[in-house]
């Protein structure tokens, strides 16, 4: 006869049942991470009507769906990027030298939040942020310290920032007497993206921001043709909250408006598009990301050729600069992020990107530690050397599922692009339509997590036991102290007459509506700071000198 189970046994049996349920690997979702519903399987009927030459083409052939170059990674490997930036220019310089020792190709620099928004490091309200999330770089003098001994017409530096860096680099090159037509490097001059990801009209006004993008691209296409323009900066838009198709739609809306405005200034598509590269993310849904890169290249090629009349293949074949998604990485059990970043990195490679940064596993915790940076580098080396990710172009091309998904992402992207253009991009940004889309995407994302329709390991399922807090990156603040003293001293010691003259000229040019870049560059050569230059452009545009209305302009502007 069975005895009734004692309560302890009942509870242990329940524990075992719960554990079995918890560790099982289940299909928890049949839609892609962006929400495209997926069928049980795919076959010829799902790609019916596709024409190989028209819709795919060989790698390196229009419409470049299968890749921008015929031999892809056999002719040129992707560029392994490791972005560095913290503290004073001297601190970042040290970080760059360490990253180069690990196998990073080239120099990739991120600026602190103040420099990213053209605010000086001595701003009374925000000074604590100086040097915290990137390098503090308010003047040409600081750039000279950061790039000491480096000839910017021989070594290209990739700048992961939008505002002011291009005029700073050109100013330094001019000051050093370099030939601008040979200037190498890249940055991300997409101010509309910045407007949307920074989140307000105060910091980056839509109209002034967009005009500055057009100014920058016009100046660069005329004077520094070898400089690369990371425009659109669609990575930040994606991270802020849009699906894979939304990344394409928003990025294309920005590119098309910019190209139309450049054409009105006499800069044709084939003068500027060959220098442009798409800054993209790679999220966690492997197949969807591969499909996104493929759909993106096809949309880009057709837009350039059919809508802008491009006749140069270099304008039509898109180069993609990819950073794996930081948003997809989570705080609990941070080492799990190594698995996430590996899959994201593989998706980017099979999607055929030209440069690639793998997010470090400690991204949700702090700016990258050296140990985490090394693991991110090793991840790419393993994929390149052991996994065979570089062996052949577009290895997933021809898969019924991947082709069908590519078509679906493309159709969704073109649909959203039409809706944005029907409103008008500038209006859709200014009236909050696009931010509303992003907020809604994030809200629905959270609701799906709450309902268990979207599982993130360690966050809403398989939650780990409490563990010791992860180690954080830290650096000696003494470099920043010296940097701040140097900045204050420079403001006192510079040639005040020359400075006032150049600032006055900048004000006149910016008021006239002409391209402000030449005058911005001249003011920077005269040791104006980024905050002073941008503040003057703001005043000339009828805005406050300081977006936050804390600092008054130190300059008396001429009456016009």
């Amino acid at each position: 006869m069975n005895k009734p189970p004692v309560p302890e046994d009942v509870s242990r049996a329940a524990d075992i049942k719960a554990h079995l349920e918890d560790v099982s690997v289940k299909l928890s979702r049949t839609a892609t991470w962006s929400g495209i519903e997926t069928k049980n399987s795919y076959g010829p009927a799902d790609v019916e009507g596709m024409d190989y030459a028209r819709d795919l083409g060989e790698p390196g052939e229009y419409p470049y769906t299968r890749g921008s170059f015929p031999e892809m990674y056999r002719s040129r490997m992707w560029t392994l990027r490791n972005i560095v930036g913290y503290g004073a220019p001297e601190d970042t310089r040290e970080g760059i030298e360490n990253a180069l020792k690990l196998g990073t190709a080239g120099i990739n620099i991120v600026l602190d939040t103040l420099s990213q928004e053209a605010v000086d490091p001595d701003h009374p309200a925000f000074s604590p942020d100086a040097g915290q999330e990137g390098c503090s770089l308010p003047t040409v003098r600081d750039l000279e310290v950061l790039l000491s001994g480096i000839d910017v017409t021989r070594t290209g530096v990739a700048w992961h920032t939008t505002m002011m860096i291009y005029p700073l680099v050109v100013a330094m090159a001019k000051k050093q007497g370099r030939d601008l037509s040979k200037l190498l490097g890249s940055h991300m001059p997409d101010h509309l993206q910045l407007r949307l990801s920074v989140g307000n009209e105060i910091t980056v006004p839509t109209v002034l921001g967009h005009r500055t993008t057009v100014d920058c691209l016009e100046y660069s296409s005329r004077h520094t043709p070898r400089w690369s323009l990371g425009c659109p900066q669609a990575y930040n838009l994606r991270e802020r909250g849009v699906p894979a198709s939304g990344e394409i739609a928003l990025g294309m809306a920005i590119v098309k408006l910019t190209l139309r405005d450049l054409a009105a200034r006499g800069v044709g598509v084939d003068q500027v598009a060959p220098s442009m590269a798409w800054v993209s993310g790679s999220d966690i849904d492997f197949f969807e990301e591969v499909a996104k890169f493929r759909a993106l290249r096809r949309i880009w090629a057709r837009t350039m050729k059919e809508q802008f009349g491009s006749q140069d293949a270099r304008s039509q074949r898109l180069r993609i600069a990819c950073h794996t998604s930081g948003r997809a990485l989570v705080y609990p059990q941070p080492l799990n992020n190594l698995a996430r970043a590996t899959v994201q990195t593989l998706a980017a490679l099979l999607g055929g990107v030209q440069s690639l940064e793998t997010c470090t596993y400690d991204e949700p915790i702090c700016i990258p530690t050296e140990a985490a940076r090394e693991l991110a580098t090793r991840t790419q080396q393993i994929l390149a050397n052991e996994v065979g990710a570089a062996r052949t172009a577009d290895p997933l091309g021809g898969s019924y599922y991947v082709e069908s998904l590519t078509n679906q992402v493309e159709a969704d992207a073109l649909g959203l692009l039409d809706r944005i253009e029907a409103i008008g991009l500038i209006k859709a940004i200014e009236d909050g339509t696009i931010e509303g889309l992003m907020d809604d995407y994030n809200y629905q994302f959270k609701k799906e997590m709450d309902r268990g329709e979207r599982i993130v390991v360690g966050v809403n399922k398989f939650i780990p036991k409490p563990e010791p807090s992860p180690k954080r990156f830290s650096f000696d603040p003494k470099g920043m102290v010296a940097h701040m003293e140097r900045f204050r001293a420079l403001k006192l010691e510079r040639d005040q007459t020359l400075l006032k003259d150049k600032i006055g000229q900048l004000y006149r040019v910016a008021r006239s509506g002409e391209n402000a870049h030449p005058a911005m560059i001249d003011a920077l050569i005269a040791d104006a700071s980024i905050g002073e230059v941008w503040g003057t452009v703001r005043v000339a545009s009828g805005l406050s000198y300081d977006p936050f209305r804390v600092v008054e302009s130190p300059f008396a502007y001429p009456e016009i």
């Binding site: 990213q116 605010v119 915290q132 105060i202 910091t203 949700p364 809200y443 994302f445 959270k446 809403n460």
Partner: protein, 142 residues
């Protein structure tokens, strides 16, 4: 008689642009019947305090994803005391490192909702510190 709603001011200080979390929180709190005023990004301490007074908020919530939150929070609480609004409870969210929690509590922060915190915890906190109850949709339950 109609129950008085909890009024919550949400804001970001400094130059941190990681606003997805706090914007989503604003909507989730509204779903639960909280009156939320989202002040936006890039606020100064003075700007937040002025809004706190103007909006007559019961609670202030701040989100940080960058490393300078100890400084900004300390500065804000100091200025709140000087402005005579130190009685408004302050809660923090975002990437708050566990090692910093004691220092934040010491400063006077009442609620800390770092990685892994859920809506129910935040809702319970709001009811606890305001003495008002929430009547909205509580279907989201992480």
């Amino acid at each position: 008689m109609a129950q008085e709603k909890i009024r919550c001011l949400l804001a970001m200080l400094g130059t941190d642009v990681h606003s997805k979390g706090i914007r989503t929180l604003a909507q989730l709190l509204r779903d639960r019947g909280v009156e939320v005023v989202y002040l936006g990004e890039h606020n100064t301490a003075d700007g937040v305090i002025n809004a706190l007074i103007a909006e007559d908020a019961d609670v202030l919530g701040l989100s940080y994803s960058t490393a300078t939150y100890l400084h900004y929070t300390h500065d804000l609480l100091d200025k709140m005391r000087k402005a005579g609004v130190a009685d408004v409870p302050v809660m923090l969210g975002g990437l708050i490192h566990a090692d910093d929690e004691p220092a934040l509590r010491e400063m006077g922060v009442k609620g800390i909702f770092g990685p892994g915190s859920g809506m129910d915890q935040i809702a319970a906190f709001l009811q606890d510190v305001t003495g008002k109850s929430l009547t909205g949709d509580a279907s989201s339950s992480t």
